[in-house]
């Protein structure tokens, strides 16, 4: 009996057993609630598409008139050497059928965890119209300032010809983004994802112009 207790397994069996049981129950929770959480995210995405393309004010005005944009989701595969990156590209049309713009959903590694964001572009993908952070777990008080309107506004209505660049103390240069003090990594990560999404999808949006508006409203 003592010999068994002295082995590693004799010491740690409870930890291993609990880890297994808890892991299984968490898998169960995820299986049960995962679809619901994804649904919440999708709902939020569709709500934010008009805001990201038109800006808060115009989106509110559109809502007040009782109109919505017709949103069509597309999956775009961009080949990058050995890996293929998949983006969700939302095409948004006004009711009369004119193209309002595009929204790209992208994500990548931030400072603490994955950052998931929406990047809005106008109809010709000539300008970035806005940015919305869907999910982030950056440091409270520092990195999580990426969600604030004032900081995100730096990306609104900027030409896509020059990539965004993070600088400390922006001096008003073309497409300069002011780094959040204490959160340079978070600032740079978001900027990198925006630049990547723009450069990957700018040449591709034209081929989705004819995707019909039978998607989700």
């Amino acid at each position: 009996m003592n010999a068994i207790q002295r082995t590693n397994l004799g010491q740690a069996w409870l930890v291993l057993l609990l880890a297994l049981l808890f892991g299984m129950s968490l898998a169960g929770v995820q299986a049960a609630l995962g679809p619901k959480i994804e649904e919440n995210k999708l709902k939020e995405t569709l709500e934010k598409v008009p805001v990201v393309i038109l800006g808060q004010q115009a989106a509110d005005e559109l809502n007040a008139k009782g109109e919505t944009l017709v949103i069509t989701p597309n999956t775009v595969a961009v080949e990058k050497g050995p890996v293929t990156k998949y983006y969700t590209l939302y095409k948004a049309d006004f009711k009369d059928g004119t193209l309002a713009g595009w929204v790209v959903k992208t994500k990548g590694q931030g400072y603490a965890d994955k950052i998931e964001l929406l990047v809005g572009m106008d109809a010709d993908a000539a300008k970035v119209t806005g940015l919305f952070i869907l999910d982030q777990k950056e440091t409270p008080g520092l990195g999580n300032k990426i969600v604030e309107d004032a900081w995100r506004a730096q990306y609104s209505n900027k030409e896509t010809t020059t990539p965004f660049k993070v600088v400390k103390l922006a001096t008003g240069g073309v497409n300069e983004i002011d780094a959040i003090s204490g959160a340079t990594i978070s600032s740079k990560a978001v900027t990198k994802f925006v630049n990547q999404a723009v450069s990957d999808l700018k040449p591709r949006v034209a081929q989705f112009k004819d995707s019909d508006g039978k998607g989700v409203q």
Partner: protein, 205 residues
């Protein structure tokens, strides 16, 4: 162990004599961070209550199997599991609130209040006593959060739960809903509670 407190004693101790925030100064990170409004404060208090009660009962059931050098691992494993469940449930049913609270829900894992109760009570006493201990401590934590949030939201926005209560002429003290307001309120309430208990027990300050 005859000298261990009973279930009723455990329950009552948690509310004021051993209040987690005002007497033990535990769990101050969420106390400072989410008390800028009543709604986030109540959501946080409920999540902590859920995690604390579940963790205390599970640890108490396992108490005879715990090995001294592995007990902290088991506490952390148990707490992390229930925190993840709370986080997922909030994301599924209270999505906006879960975004407002952001990383503070996953951070309940490192709330030392919970590991403290596992160590002090649950690993030594029966599930019933552990549950009433957890209930008392959660109530104490909830009361502390709600009292701080009430002061901050009322002075900072002139209302509670978004309803205007003070006259419209009230100049909203925005600083109260910003981080400095958390420190100021916590300090003042802490002083008040200690002054009150000292006076009641006949001590002097």
């Amino acid at each position: 162990m005859a000298d261990q407190p009973t279930a009723t004693e455990r329950f009552l101790q948690g509310i004021l004599p051993e209040n987690p925030v005002y007497r033990q100064l535990l769990g101050l990170c969420p106390t400072l961070a989410v008390t800028n409004g009543m709604q986030p404060a109540i959501t946080m208090a409920c999540s902590v209550a859920f995690v604390l009660i579940c963790a205390n009962v599970v640890i108490s059931l396992l108490r005879n199997l715990l090995k001294p050098h592995l007990r902290i691992v088991i506490f952390t494993l148990t707490i992390a599991t229930f925190v993840t469940i709370a986080d997922r449930v909030l994301a599924a049913y209270l999505y906006q609130m879960s975004k407002t609270l952001g990383p503070y829900i996953p951070l309940i894992i490192v709330n030392c209040l919970i590991i403290c109760r596992c160590e002090v009570c649950a690993s030594k006493q029966s599930p019933f006593i552990a549950a009433s201990d957890a209930l008392g401590q959660s109530l104490g934590f909830g009361l502390a959060l709600v009292s701080i949030a009430a002061v901050r939201e009322l002075l900072g926005t002139g209302g509670l739960f978004g309803y205007q209560l003070l006259p419209a002429a009230w100049p909203d003290w925005v600083i109260m809903v910003l981080p400095p307001g958390a420190f100021i309120t916590l300090g003042l309430l802490l002083g008040l509670v200690n002054w009150y208990s000292a006076r009641k027990s006949g001590g002097s300050i």
